[in-house]
């Protein structure tokens, strides 16, 4: 199997005149959990959207297995990269099961009937997020945590080796944030899925990620393991935050204590 590595090469992103990411080159390690961190407005989501081919770079390329993703077939790409954007729209009154089925879209032709592989992917995704017994329920009558798990099941059913998530824990309480990140790590460990998320919480990111990408107002500040990235100096540069770093007493990962 070829390594499915997403790579940014001399990537420049922006909206019109405003440049958000300038001349960035980095790789998202395959089969790892990567988190993109940084202050508001530094281009975290923009970068993630560029990796998912939702925006076209002003310069540079994003490559998958060495090929420019903008040259690839749309449906073929959707079988390799899934993205859960912020605030997707739910059709009114849709059930969890019907929502998750839509994750199979890239695998289905215009006339192909619902296949066993489709059914198994959906059942597996529902089970992975613990929503099997709720599949008949309407999405709009679920709690925020359950709703987010249903959306996760949709992108899991897509069955891609790469999974990109834009702030998947926003609006959730701490328990549900932990639950979502544990689910993602489970998927990463079980299926070898490359998981790339944008998060705000540095401590949770350090706890759950193998690889961190820290962006600051001037672009990339640091990338690497949590121990390499989460340092007082890097936090000062990225967030202008004075903080002390201590090992998390539970996981030994670096933990930020703002001063």
């Amino acid at each position: 199997m070829t390594e499915m590595t997403l790579r940014a090469e001399a990537l420049t992103l922006g909206y019109g005149e405003r440049r958000v990411i300038d001349d960035l080159s980095l790789a998202l390690p395959a089969a790892r959990m990567t988190t993109i961190l940084g202050p508001n407005g530094c281009g975290k989501s923009t970068l993630l959207r560029a990796f998912a081919r939702l925006i076209r770079p002003q310069a540079g390329v994003v490559t998958l297995c060495g090929e420019d993703i903008h040259g690839q077939d749309t449906r073929a790409l959707a079988r390799r990269i899934a993205i859960l954007p912020q605030a997707p729209l739910a059709p009114e009154g849709i059930s969890v099961g019907d929502l998750v089925k839509r994750g199979r879209a890239p695998w289905r032709g215009l006339l192909s009937p619902w296949s066993r592989a489709d059914a198994e992917a959906c059942a597996g995704a529902l089970q992975a997020v613990g929503m099997t017994e709720h599949q008949e329920r309407r999405l709009d009558e679920l709690s925020g945590g359950q709703r987010q798990r249903a959306w996760l099941a949709l992108v899991l059913a897509q069955g891609t080796p790469l999974l990109l998530l834009d702030e998947p824990t926003t609006w959730l309480d701490l328990t549900h944030q932990l639950e979502v990140l544990s689910l993602l790590r489970q998927r990463n460990r079980d299926a070898g899925t490359t998981v790339v998320s944008v998060l705000h919480d540095i401590n949770l990111a350090a706890r759950f990620s193998d690889h961190l990408i820290l962006l600051g107002p001037g672009g990339l500040v640091a990338e690497g393991t949590p121990e390499v990235v989460v340092t007082t100096e890097n936090l000062q540069r990225a967030f202008r935050l004075a903080a002390r770093i201590q090992p998390d007493p539970v996981t030994d990962r670096p933990m930020v204590i703002p001063l």
């Binding site: 939702l54 749309t74 059709p91 839509r102 879209a105």
Partner: protein, 328 residues
Amino acid sequence: MKRWILLALLFAVAVALSLLLGVRHLTPSDVWQAVTAPDPRNPAHVTLLTIRLPRLAGGLIAGAALGLAGTVMQSLTRNPLADPGILGVNAGAALAVVLGALLLGRADNGIVTVLAFPGAALASVAVFLPGGGLSGDAGPVRLTLAGAALNALLISAVSAIVQFRGEALDILRFWIAGSLASAAERPVAAMSLVALCGAVLALAIAPRLEVLSLGGSLARGLGTRPGIVQAQALLAVTALTGAAVAIAGPIGFLGLMVPPLARRVAGHSLRLELAASVALGAAILLLADTAGRLIFPPAEVRAGIMTALLGGPIFILIARRLKPGAQG
């Protein structure tokens, strides 16, 4: 399943009433004999063959087409108030036909009716592009207001043009609020082929429209190209609406009433919803037409007025349920 049976019953009743009731009531045996052993001297047979059957055919095609067009539009725009009548697409088709008839000096029921399609297409583009309706970001209110304004503008233009015609009042009546009364003189057969193409296209792209309704970003992540799906959906709406207007004139509110009912029958599968929309659209239009024949006989209330009488309150009901600032 039970709801599908109810829908089939409703459809059968609508077809039967449309054949049997009118200024002259017929019996089922009249209908049977008229079909199996037609007698040109029997007035009941003549009524059935020359008036009721063409009217039934026109109603089936126009109703089914408008029901489908409404369901495609509402799915495309995530807007429960979207309807070819309310958004001015009907009026665009009507304007193109009357304008063509005036400029070419021809009757408005022959080849000129082909102009209904570019008319419908132009009106769709005019209402969807500036209204921000396709992205669904603008919210239902903005699109509906843009449509109402366009609709009023186009209808005034229709009235202005029709004034130049000799038999102005009758023509005006037809092109302001449609009717099935003249179905026998209208190009039902040709237009049903176009409507069929629109229906096939709508069914084909239904799964992509379902994905598109999850929002543009997620839809692209799932391998659809929103721009192409939107263009295909507008093409389907244009074919369906243009065909319906060419047959029956502009009939509003049918596309508003059908989708919520179709969803109750079919659930969240757009292909099944479209299938239910065919039967519902045809049944509601036939019932509206039949009721219009029975209210003040021998005069008729036009089907387009009946659907508006029914659809107006439903519009208000749906509009009241929208949350302020809802994203559709």
